[in-house]
Amino acid sequence: MIRILVRYSVLFVLTLLVLTALSFVLAYLFPGDVLVNLSGITPENEVQRDALVRQYRLDQSYLIQFWHYLQQLMNGNWGYSFTSGLPLREEVGLALPATIEISTYAMLMALFIGLPVGYYAGIRSYSLSDRTINSVSLISYSVPVFWLALVLILFFSLELGVAPLSGRISLMFDIPSVTGFILIDILLSEHIDHGLALRDALHHLLLPTLAIGTITTAAMIRITRRSVIDVLQKPYIAAARARGLSRPQIFVRHVMRNASLPILPLMAIQITTLITNAMIVETLFSWPGIGNWLIQAIYQRDYPALRIGMLAVSTLVISLTILVDMFNRMLDPGRERFERGAI
């Protein structure tokens, strides 16, 4: 167990190192002054420039520059945004939790709807209900997420008027950001009507979650169904039937566990899609998440923001992937202990 943890931590640290190296190189590859790309501050005179060059060790070799860059990242000095002039750490700290929050709800939706429906379809494979579930999930899986989000806005916000068009919460509520997750922040904040604020926040959450969650749920249904069908054809299920076990017994004791094991790594692959979808949907709903923030950065040619944004998003994706893979390794007795960690 400890060896597995060590292996995965080494893998994690090395991957992060490569990513930081990439983001450091970006400062050189982006157009414009390296110093400005790295710090986000445009020096006003030679004195200030020299001070910045010394601060970022730009007068020394690349390796020392990179080492210094790493230290700066560790200390929380991520540079400043061109456009707002605020420290990037603060901006990412506000935007990233919003994306994580919405992705989490979409994932929960996939787990609570996708898993049971997928199991049901797998057991009733090739029946009418299975075919219906399968085609509905295939259709929702192939719908482009931005189109789906637009249709949802058109229908629920503009036609029916049951859900707000954009944003995270009504401007009437002033919620100080503590954790970055709106629902938790509402509960932590004082001097507001918690019930009203929660209901408003949930209304705002509804459409973006639905847009992202539909596609993740569809993927979940398809993965689960396939996995259950595969397991049902295994000889040990036939052997269990020959032992006279009843259908529910076989399902609970043999099908469920064996079908769930391959779902986990496949869901890890879906994480990338999920976060990408979340970032697309954010721009449509003006959700103050990292996707929206990155798009703004691209429009403004905010190179330091792009550099840090890329690092933040990829760190998030890689941490989740490695975590899921590690869990799967610990749960699956079939995987060998000496197998190497992989992303």
Partner: protein, 331 residues
């Protein structure tokens, strides 16, 4: 009185463009207290018969039979729950390929405990019941020759050697105290000492508990030493069936003779360094079965009449299907 009685079992597989008869009018019966051997080359349909009896064939395969009964009850027409009850208590199956027949994600001990029928467990509280399950499991493990029960009870199938998994498979079959044990190649991949151990266990259970055994194998030596009667299968057709000693002394079908001749242990007069007698050619594939007697093209005694399927003929309890049987002059 036959416990398991199968007459003219036919299994048809629809491949999309043609219908293949994987089993063609197979007849087989197992009397109570008898060890019946089912012999045939690989691909002759032995395992298909085992699957058909246990009812685990894919639903799209069509099974028809004139008679397929367990103690007089028709296995094909009985309800799912009745069939399950028969499989749970009366018939136990040891499948070929033990590693595939075990759930890879559950410990071996738990799988063995799962096969213990609830009727065997006494006790009001769940911890008493689980304790008793554990006790029965351990004693069954000892019975089939797994001595280090502590080491194996929590192990997963892929962590232990194949013959231990096979023994667990046998233990799982025996733990419900069945009336009929169907053992599909139970000693495959075992070393000779373990093999004798398992075969001895089977013989002992047969003698002490009157357990009937359908022993599916191609290990002729083991079969000859323990079974009372034998059914020979070739390419999905029953070729000959009868008491072991009659078949060995006087095989009527050319295939049975060829099969027995190919085993060196049965030949006392075999000169050293001579080649073993075998039939020419190899077993036909399922898609290209000859019409009539399927042995036809390989049979040394084949004549024109062999293109029509020979009817089953009977001399006392010895049945055979051949137009031109051997040893007829002596009868």
């Amino acid at each position: 009185m036959a416990m398991l009685d199968i007459k003219n079992l036919t299994l048809e597989i629809n491949t999309g463009d043609s219908v293949i008869k994987a089993l063609d009018k197979v007849s087989l019966s197992v009397n109570s207290g008898e060890i019946r051997a089912l012999v045939g080359e690989s691909g002759s349909g032995k395992s298909l018969i085992v699957s058909a009896i246990s009812g685990v064939l894919p639903p799209q395969w069509r099974i028809t039979a004139d008679r397929m009964s367990w103690n007089g009850d028709n296995l094909l027409s009985m309800s799912v729950s009745q069939r399950r009850e028969v499989m749970r208590r009366d018939i136990a199956v040891v499948f070929q390929n033990p590693l595939g027949a075990m759930d890879p994600s559950a410990p071996l001990g738990a799988q063995l405990e799962e096969s213990i029928p609830n009727e065997f467990i006494r006790g009001t509280w769940f911890w008493q019941r689980s304790q008793q399950r554990r006790k029965i499991a351990i004693s069954t493990m000892h019975k089939v020759g797994i001595k280090q029960h502590k080491r194996y009870i929590h192990a997963f199938p892929h962590q232990v050697s194949a013959d231990i998994v096979q023994k667990f498979m046998i233990a799982m079959a025996l733990v419900s105290q069945p009336k009929l044990l169907i053992a599909d190649d139970p000693t495959r991949g075992m070393e000779p000492t373990t093999k004798t151990q398992v075969l001895k266990l089977f013989t002992r259970l047969n003698q002490t508990r009157a357990l009937s055994i359908l022993f599916v194998s191609h290990d002729l030596l083991a079969i000859a030493s323990m079974s009372h009667s034998m059914t020979v299968l070739y390419a999905g057709q029953t070729v000959e069936s009868g008491r072991m000693k009659h078949l060995r002394k006087r095989p009527l079908h050319p295939y049975t003779k060829a099969l027995l001749d190919s085993a060196p242990s049965f030949r006392t007069n075999l000169p050293p360094k001579s080649s073993l007698p075998t039939l020419d050619g190899s077993i036909p594939t399922l898609q290209h079965m000859p019409i009539g007697c399927r042995l036809g093209p390989r049979c040394p005694r084949a004549q024109r009449a062999c293109v029509s399927t020979p009817a089953v003929r009977r001399i006392h309890d010895h049945t055979y299907s051949c137009h031109f049987p051997l040893h007829m002059e002596k009868l």
